[in-house]
Symmetry: D2
Subunit: 313 residues, 4 copies
């Protein structure tokens, strides 16, 4: 099979792109995400038609937040778009006249990294995506592990603190409340409010108040040596690394890939995650250690991965 | 291939048995577990020779506690026997003249249940063994998931309570400190000491002191309605079920199998585990639920599973 | 001194009452709580003038949520009304021409119970108020313990779960997030959403949805045997009793008094709190146990206590 | 009253000293702690007789680990010596012919610091003693707060981690498991085992193994910049400071005094404790902050405090 289209449905934008067999994007198109389920289907169809003009395209892969069923056809439940048992595959196929595969967005991103990014040379890979929340994907023996019902690798919602923070999923103490971009901002706000004398650089990058600290301030401040910003990254890494150690006990991959916006900071966040991972890895002197790698495809991983999954059929 | 031998190395006994293709045990032999690594190898060889007399045996599978490498040949580390990089496969092959496969004991038990026990009809199964500690095994797509380095499915040591109970592995807050036979006894002792008026039946089954409560007293007392015994099972189930919910988020199997000595109590422990599982399953109204099944092979699962893994080669 | 006035500033109502030396309320008046600090001062003055007509009143005691300074004059900080270093004593004295004492509302309620309610016969008493949040008051040797800066007995904000639930105070894991009326409702909602089959009575008392469960439904459902409602009270009691055990380790009073709206349910909530208290009381077989008593004055404790504190000068 | 004798009963030594009204020790005597309760009484009597020779002594104060009753006469329960309802006051009085007062050892030490050490100028003081375990004492309005039954200020056993580390008291998650000399050593051992590359100095001070690290190595290594040693102190301080913040919410003293062997390290441990205290102090921008002071009397605080309590009668 030659060219396929990958579609990445985000909270604000829907991106579509024509992708070749090497994972290169030949052409892309972006539209705003409509507020209704039907609008989203229309927007996907429009984007696919627009981007495919002039290309000989054979299939479409869609990455969507939420639970996707084991047939890769229906979104059972999506937290941000109002999808409940949405037959996305059928609806889009009817409009674009191409075979469609639907996949969880974090699974698609993991597949993209596995195939064309940081996963080169590994067959057993676990990816975590530290974005606003925490998503994940699992590759075992070169195959995406979807689970019996299609909803495996929901890493963000394993419980790491009993009776811990409330999560949007209705549970408490979920990993993504402690290891995600949102968590990083909370760490910085709490610390800056309690000890502003240690957050002068950080507070100076915004309006001077703890409550208006933003993610990009924290990275900048950390690079400039701000103690609260550095400590906030360390706290994030403490939780991220401890969770990876648990995943090593469960899956035993040869490599972890850490992606998502938070990981764009590179070693600022990767190095403390590696330290925390070694610290908490059970039996760490008796076993080979998985590598902890930075993702390489940035925000394109999901689109590229979805396109490649469509190619695989 | 016809008959194979399964060997189960326990803390006090080494059991060997001749197993046929249907998982039936034709003959068994037991010896005490010697205290030295070399002694254990000798004992295994003796048991294999003894039990194989008169049978046309083609291979040997050994289930051993600890980390077994990805070649299924060397025990990297065993907590109870003093094995460090023990080349068990080679040593036993030299003495018995048959091909040998070494496998983690909980993996072997999981495989046994998958093939000949509660796993019938399922291709994606996660097993937990609630014995003295907590072990696990994973079957994905009908294959045992060993991980890249052979040490996957070490469920007992994922962290469920940050800064929690010390574990023999050197870490803190490991799942097996909260969901295992040892945990059950601790729950009962603590509760009986604090509120003996609620533990009259339980205390009456032993010498009357909380510190000498044993596991079998707790089951008996629970069946007789002892509030502390019932509450102790409930506490165990609270942690076991919550952990299964996390495993569902990670692996998404079609069934969980709960084995080990604790699970011999049947619905006394299975029902509260199922309740806790549903309580903590993220998105439980939007997804198909895995079944939570009682193991069927009891203490023979490891031996039968090891024999079958040897047959598969 | 003869009659004094007690004022209780609540989130929705301000109540004033004339109280005699036996703690009896001779006359009361209620107004809505105005939205601005200045409006609240006016409303207090109006209520005091109104209720004092025809009575020979000698002083005014005001119970206010928030940190009250050690001179009992200034509210340093109030969470619900926008008070920051509000000189409440001076402002009210200027308008009503009577000596004024300001006290934290939970301290006032504790004093009321100590003097005229459940505290009879005890000199060392710790009170907790399980209302929307969790407040407290301490009497040591017959005197209210205010602390060096006036802000002692802020029980609701001791940390009982590291990395736990966010609290309005900016911290995490505060006791009032686990033991309060708000916590009770959260427990019921979470459990009813996860296992509606165990909440049929509870859901039937409202509109059938977990998210609209109210506190009064939970009490009614618990009395009718609803498993989720009973379990929700038990969870509340688990945290309340464990906290009382900690307070016993710290203060060692002869009695605890449990007040606030939640405690109106009497033994439905008091009995499980007592059990949990005994369960967690360190060294419980080697020491005398404090009693755990239900408050007797209901919602009037704060008003009566504030009036009595004004009398004491 | 002029001279009194203070007795400090430790796990290995019993120390007696003649103390004047200014808290100066005029003469001391030490003996080994006998293994039996009766032996301890004899040893106390011997030490008192020996040290009092040539001094006009009027009373004896004894500091003992454990629960001392409200009459300051009987040790209800001692964890290390086999005392159960031991009438220590009567037994010692009969042998030495002087009035005797028995006090909990941490209370005695707190009183010593309050009267003659770091407490100068404060009337409301909370002391914590970071020794092997964690003890405490409370002074309110210039008086020792003993509680209704004599067992107040058992700080070491408030629960700071639900389902946390086992404690010798039978409970779990007690503060002294996270903030004490024993905890410090555990932190260092765990970290050195997991990441020996960060503990080269620390490991070099002992025999090179993590399991044989001792407390004094950690201080020395921290001063030399060893990352694991510094991080271990920081972890201790994290828990100590968070606990002091809770005690501020409860007692609201004007000063905390931190004593015990761990505090001998001075600002190495005090500064991070102060930082953690400010970090966790609820409403820290709205309230006056208690000072966090280093104890001044070192290991003599208990003896001097016990002597002074005897003087007060």
């Amino acid at each position: 099979m030659g060219l396929t289209i990958g579609v990445d449905i985000g909270g604000t934008k829907i991106a579509a792109g024509v992708v070749d067999e090497e994972g290169s994007i030949l052409e892309t198109s972006k539209v705003s995400t409509p507020p209704t389920p039907e609008g989203v289907v229309d927007a996907i169809a429009d984007a696919v038609r627009k981007v495919s003009t002039g290309h000989d395209v054979e299939a479409v892969g869609i990455g969507a937040a939420g639970y996707v069923d084991d047939k890769r056809a229906t979104v059972l439940f999506a937290p941000n778009i109002n999808w409940r048992h949405e037959a996305l595959k059928d609806k889009v196929e009817q409009r674009v006249g191409l075979p469609v595969v639907v996949e969880n967005d974090a699974n698609a991103a993991a597949w993209g990294e596995y195939r064309f990014g940081a996963g080169a040379g590994h067959d057993d890979v676990v990816c975590i995506t530290l974005g606003t929340g925490l998503g994940g994907g699992i590759i075992i023996g070169g195959k995406l592990h979807r689970g019996r019902f299609g909803v495996a690798a929901e890493f963000g919602h394993i419980r790491v603190v009993p009776d811990g923070l409330l999560c949007g999923c209705g549970s408490q103490g979920c990993w993504e409340q402690y290891a995600s971009g949102r968590a990083l901002v909370r760490y910085a706000k709490q610390r800056a409010a309690a000890t502003p004398e240690n957050a002068e650089i950080l507070l100076g990058l915004g309006d001077g108040t703890a409550e208006n600290i933003e993610g990009k301030h924290i990275s900048d401040a950390a690079r400039q040596g701000d103690p609260v910003a550095i400590d906030s990254f360390r706290e994030l890494a403490r939780w991220a690394g401890a969770g990876l150690a648990d995943l090593a006990s469960l899956f035993d991959p040869s490599a972890f890939i850490v992606g998502g916006g938070v990981s764009d900071e590179g070693d600022l966040v990767l190095e403390p995650i590696r330290k925390s991972f070694r610290r908490w890895l059970v039996g760490n002197q008796w076993r080979p250690h998985a590598q902890v790698l930075a993702a390489q495809l940035g925000g394109k991983a999901g689109l590229v991965g979805a396109a490649d999954l469509a190619r695989q059929g």
